[in-house]
Amino acid sequence: MRNRLADRGHRARIAGQAVAFGAIRAVSILTVAILALIIGFVAYRGLRYSNATRGPVLQYSEKVPDGLSLAINPLSRLESIDFPVLYGMFTDEYINWAKISGQDFDLVPTIPDPSSPDGKAASKLLFGSSTDPDSAASMLGGLVKVLPDAAAALRVVETMPGAAALVPASLAEEAARAGKVKTVPLRRLVLAVNDEAAALIDNRSVEDLDDAAIARLLEGKVASWSELGGPELPVAVIAPSGGTPLASAAAAAGYGKAECAGAKAPSAGPAEADRIGAIRDTAGAVGLAFAADAQAEGLQTLTRKGRESGWNLTLRYLVEEPGLSGKVGGISTIIANTFMMLALTLVLAGPVGVAAAIYLVEYAKQGALVRAIRLGTETLAGIPSIIFGLFGFLFFVDILGFGFGLLSGCLTLTLMILPTIVRTSEEALKAVPKSLREGSLALGATKLQTILRVVVPAAAPGVLTGLILAVGRAVGETAALLFTMGSDYKLAKGLFSSARSLSAHVYLLFAEGISFDRAFSTATVLIVIVLAFNAAARLLVSRMDGGSR
């Protein structure tokens, strides 16, 4: 009986142990998994963007709409344009390329005189096919340069980085082949809809449609608007008349054939203006239209929802200077500022910290003073960085009058990382065996010689690891820097010049709502730098250990 009991107890203990070990192992694996998840997520989010988009225009784009081209200066990074943007360019909605292509140029829209033939076509493209020259001239924005002919407009585009012109395709393509300008395709197909179908009834209206829903709608597979969240109203698809530019665009976009299947298409093609009128007047009608025409007739359009994705972190982002608070451009100057900051901090904190550690370990009489110093450094290491920031602001920026700049920031960082450096260096120095010191002294070396030639080299891997970890802390610091180093994203020109570090840039991009995507790509760069520092520390230590053992 007793034996059995003992046996059972033993088994229970073993089982308990297994459970405990299992739990410990699970938790430790979990930490690694969490680390991988964090780094992986931020890196993925930083490398690729994938954002929901919503807008009136459909995906199909035309290179030469109505025989025209949008010619822009080759410096512009614009690859394609949506009609509302094009419209905005010529009506003073945009004055800068920042929101158009992410570049910090002034926008110079040019157009041939609306009363000239070239200009007439351009103004019809912008303001609808039934626009007359006078009203077109009055609708153009005040910033738009109206030039006598297309050739003059093209010349402006060739010479001014921010210029754009709507000119006949033949002229533009010739200039594009010569590399003088660049032409971009236009997306201008919209779904024009009858007011009643689009109306908000009982707090319900037609929802945003994805491409599949749009196709279904145009193929006549949707009987009532209520299926799309709208009112109880039958859907009437009105197809474009054959032979019109709209019909060929619709066919090219893949909507043409399907539409015929279920659409109540007017058999004899009415003029485009009549068709638009039909959409307006038929309850529940919907049909493809060019945005300009729909807009000119005051028709409502349905909203397409899509998803746009691409590379977020590009080489360009790394090497370009930032502009407009980081909204445009890259982060090259911020990377440079960060490394300058690190170098200066290391120069300030490294020698002082290591020297202090040498003093504490090798020279100071191990008494109350050393204990007090040790307690002080340990406490200092635990103080929140924001406190260092406040202190740095008051002391370095204000009292000493260094102002917001590299020097104030680096001095604050120095105070912050000094305790870490002192503690790690102390431990490294203490770990050097006494026998090495005795061996050196017994050879007749002085204490200083012993420290400099034997103790410090032997402790170097540990000291360097401490330095690199401290730098790692500095590179990730934000709070202490915002109050002291300033946030100028231009390249720092001197010790007193305000500068922004990568981590501060991430914070500002995010907190000021400048760009979520850019915050993530900057964070990815930051992570890579921190990981590189860690890897360098490991490599250095293993090299040195390999050399001494």
Binding site: E438, G439, S440, A442, G444, T446, V454, A458
Partner: protein
């Protein structure tokens, strides 16, 4: 080795009434002995008897410990080592080899050249010469001549200890203090070092602390027996081992304690 050469006057070290305290604990009591030049003097005794402490007095290594207090007289070549002398100079002339090999974490070459370098020698050719001579002197040259630039930590324990001896020889001392230099080594390395000592005593005065009675018997000319901080008996080795005058020596040697 005859009795006359074992204890000739003038002695290398003259020790008179040496007392040493670690704080309140007395570690050496009225030690008096003369140490002969160009001979191997062995210090034996049970652990904690003060023999290592005594050895460390001879090149003032106890200076490193704050709580140590010393009274009495130690003359080295007639000069009081507690008087107005340069400790660096003393340590240069009195080399010390420790119980555990303690090569510096640098190359074999730099280990040997360390002493001459800290004493100001920069000339490469001379350093090369010294390194080779020291390694030959420590019977290590043939084993390491192809790896002078390799880290010393890569050598075996016995090689490391001979490296430490070579390192001491490089500063051209005239006394070698050895604190149980073979206690951390295997028998083969031990016998090599013992053979080396036989060779070295022609040129150096050697004082060796050992726990190994056979070793003391094999290699030393004179032997001192320490017990509880006292030098119980100091006599030519053969006498100590065959005809000890003190009962306590006899008990220790015959293995009754220690």
């Amino acid at each position: 080795m005859s009795k006359e050469t074992a204890m000739p006057s003038p002695a290398k070290y003259v020790v008179r009434d040496l007392d040493l305290w670690y704080g309140p604990t007395q570690a050496l009591k009225k030690v008096t002995m003369d140490i002969a030049p160009n001979a191997v003097t062995a210090l034996i005794g049970p652990s904690g008897c003060g023999k290592s402490t005594f050895l460390r007095v001879l090149d003032r290594m106890n200076d490193l410990i704050d709580s140590v207090r010393i009274e009495g007289k130690v003359l080295y070549d007639g000069v009081d080592i507690f008087g107005d002398i340069d400790v660096i100079d003393l340590r240069k002339r009195v080399g010390m080899v420790f119980q555990k090999p303690n090569p510096f974490p640098m190359s074999v070459y730099d280990n040997i050249a360390y002493g001459p370098r800290v004493h100001g020698l920069q000339d490469r050719r001379k350093l090369d010469e010294i390194v080779e001579r020291s390694l030959v002197g420590a019977a290590l040259f043939d084993e390491v001549k192809d790896r002078l630039r390799k880290p010393a930590m890569g050598l075996s324990g016995g090689q490391q200890q001979r490296l430490c001896i070579a390192r001491v020889l490089a500063v051209e001392p005239d006394v070698l203090l050895m604190d149980e230099p073979t206690s951390a080594l295997d028998p083969i390395s031990t016998s090599r070092i013992e053979a080396l000592l036989e060779e070295l005593k022609k040129r150096y005065t050697i004082i060796i602390v050992t726990h190994n009675m056979q070793q003391a018997g094999r290699i030393s000319d004179g032997t001192g027996f320490f017990l509880h901080g006292e030098l119980v008996e100091f006599a030519p080795t053969r006498e100590i081992f065959t005809n000890p005058r003190d009962k306590r020596t006899e008990s220790y040697i015959s293995g009754r304690f220690g």
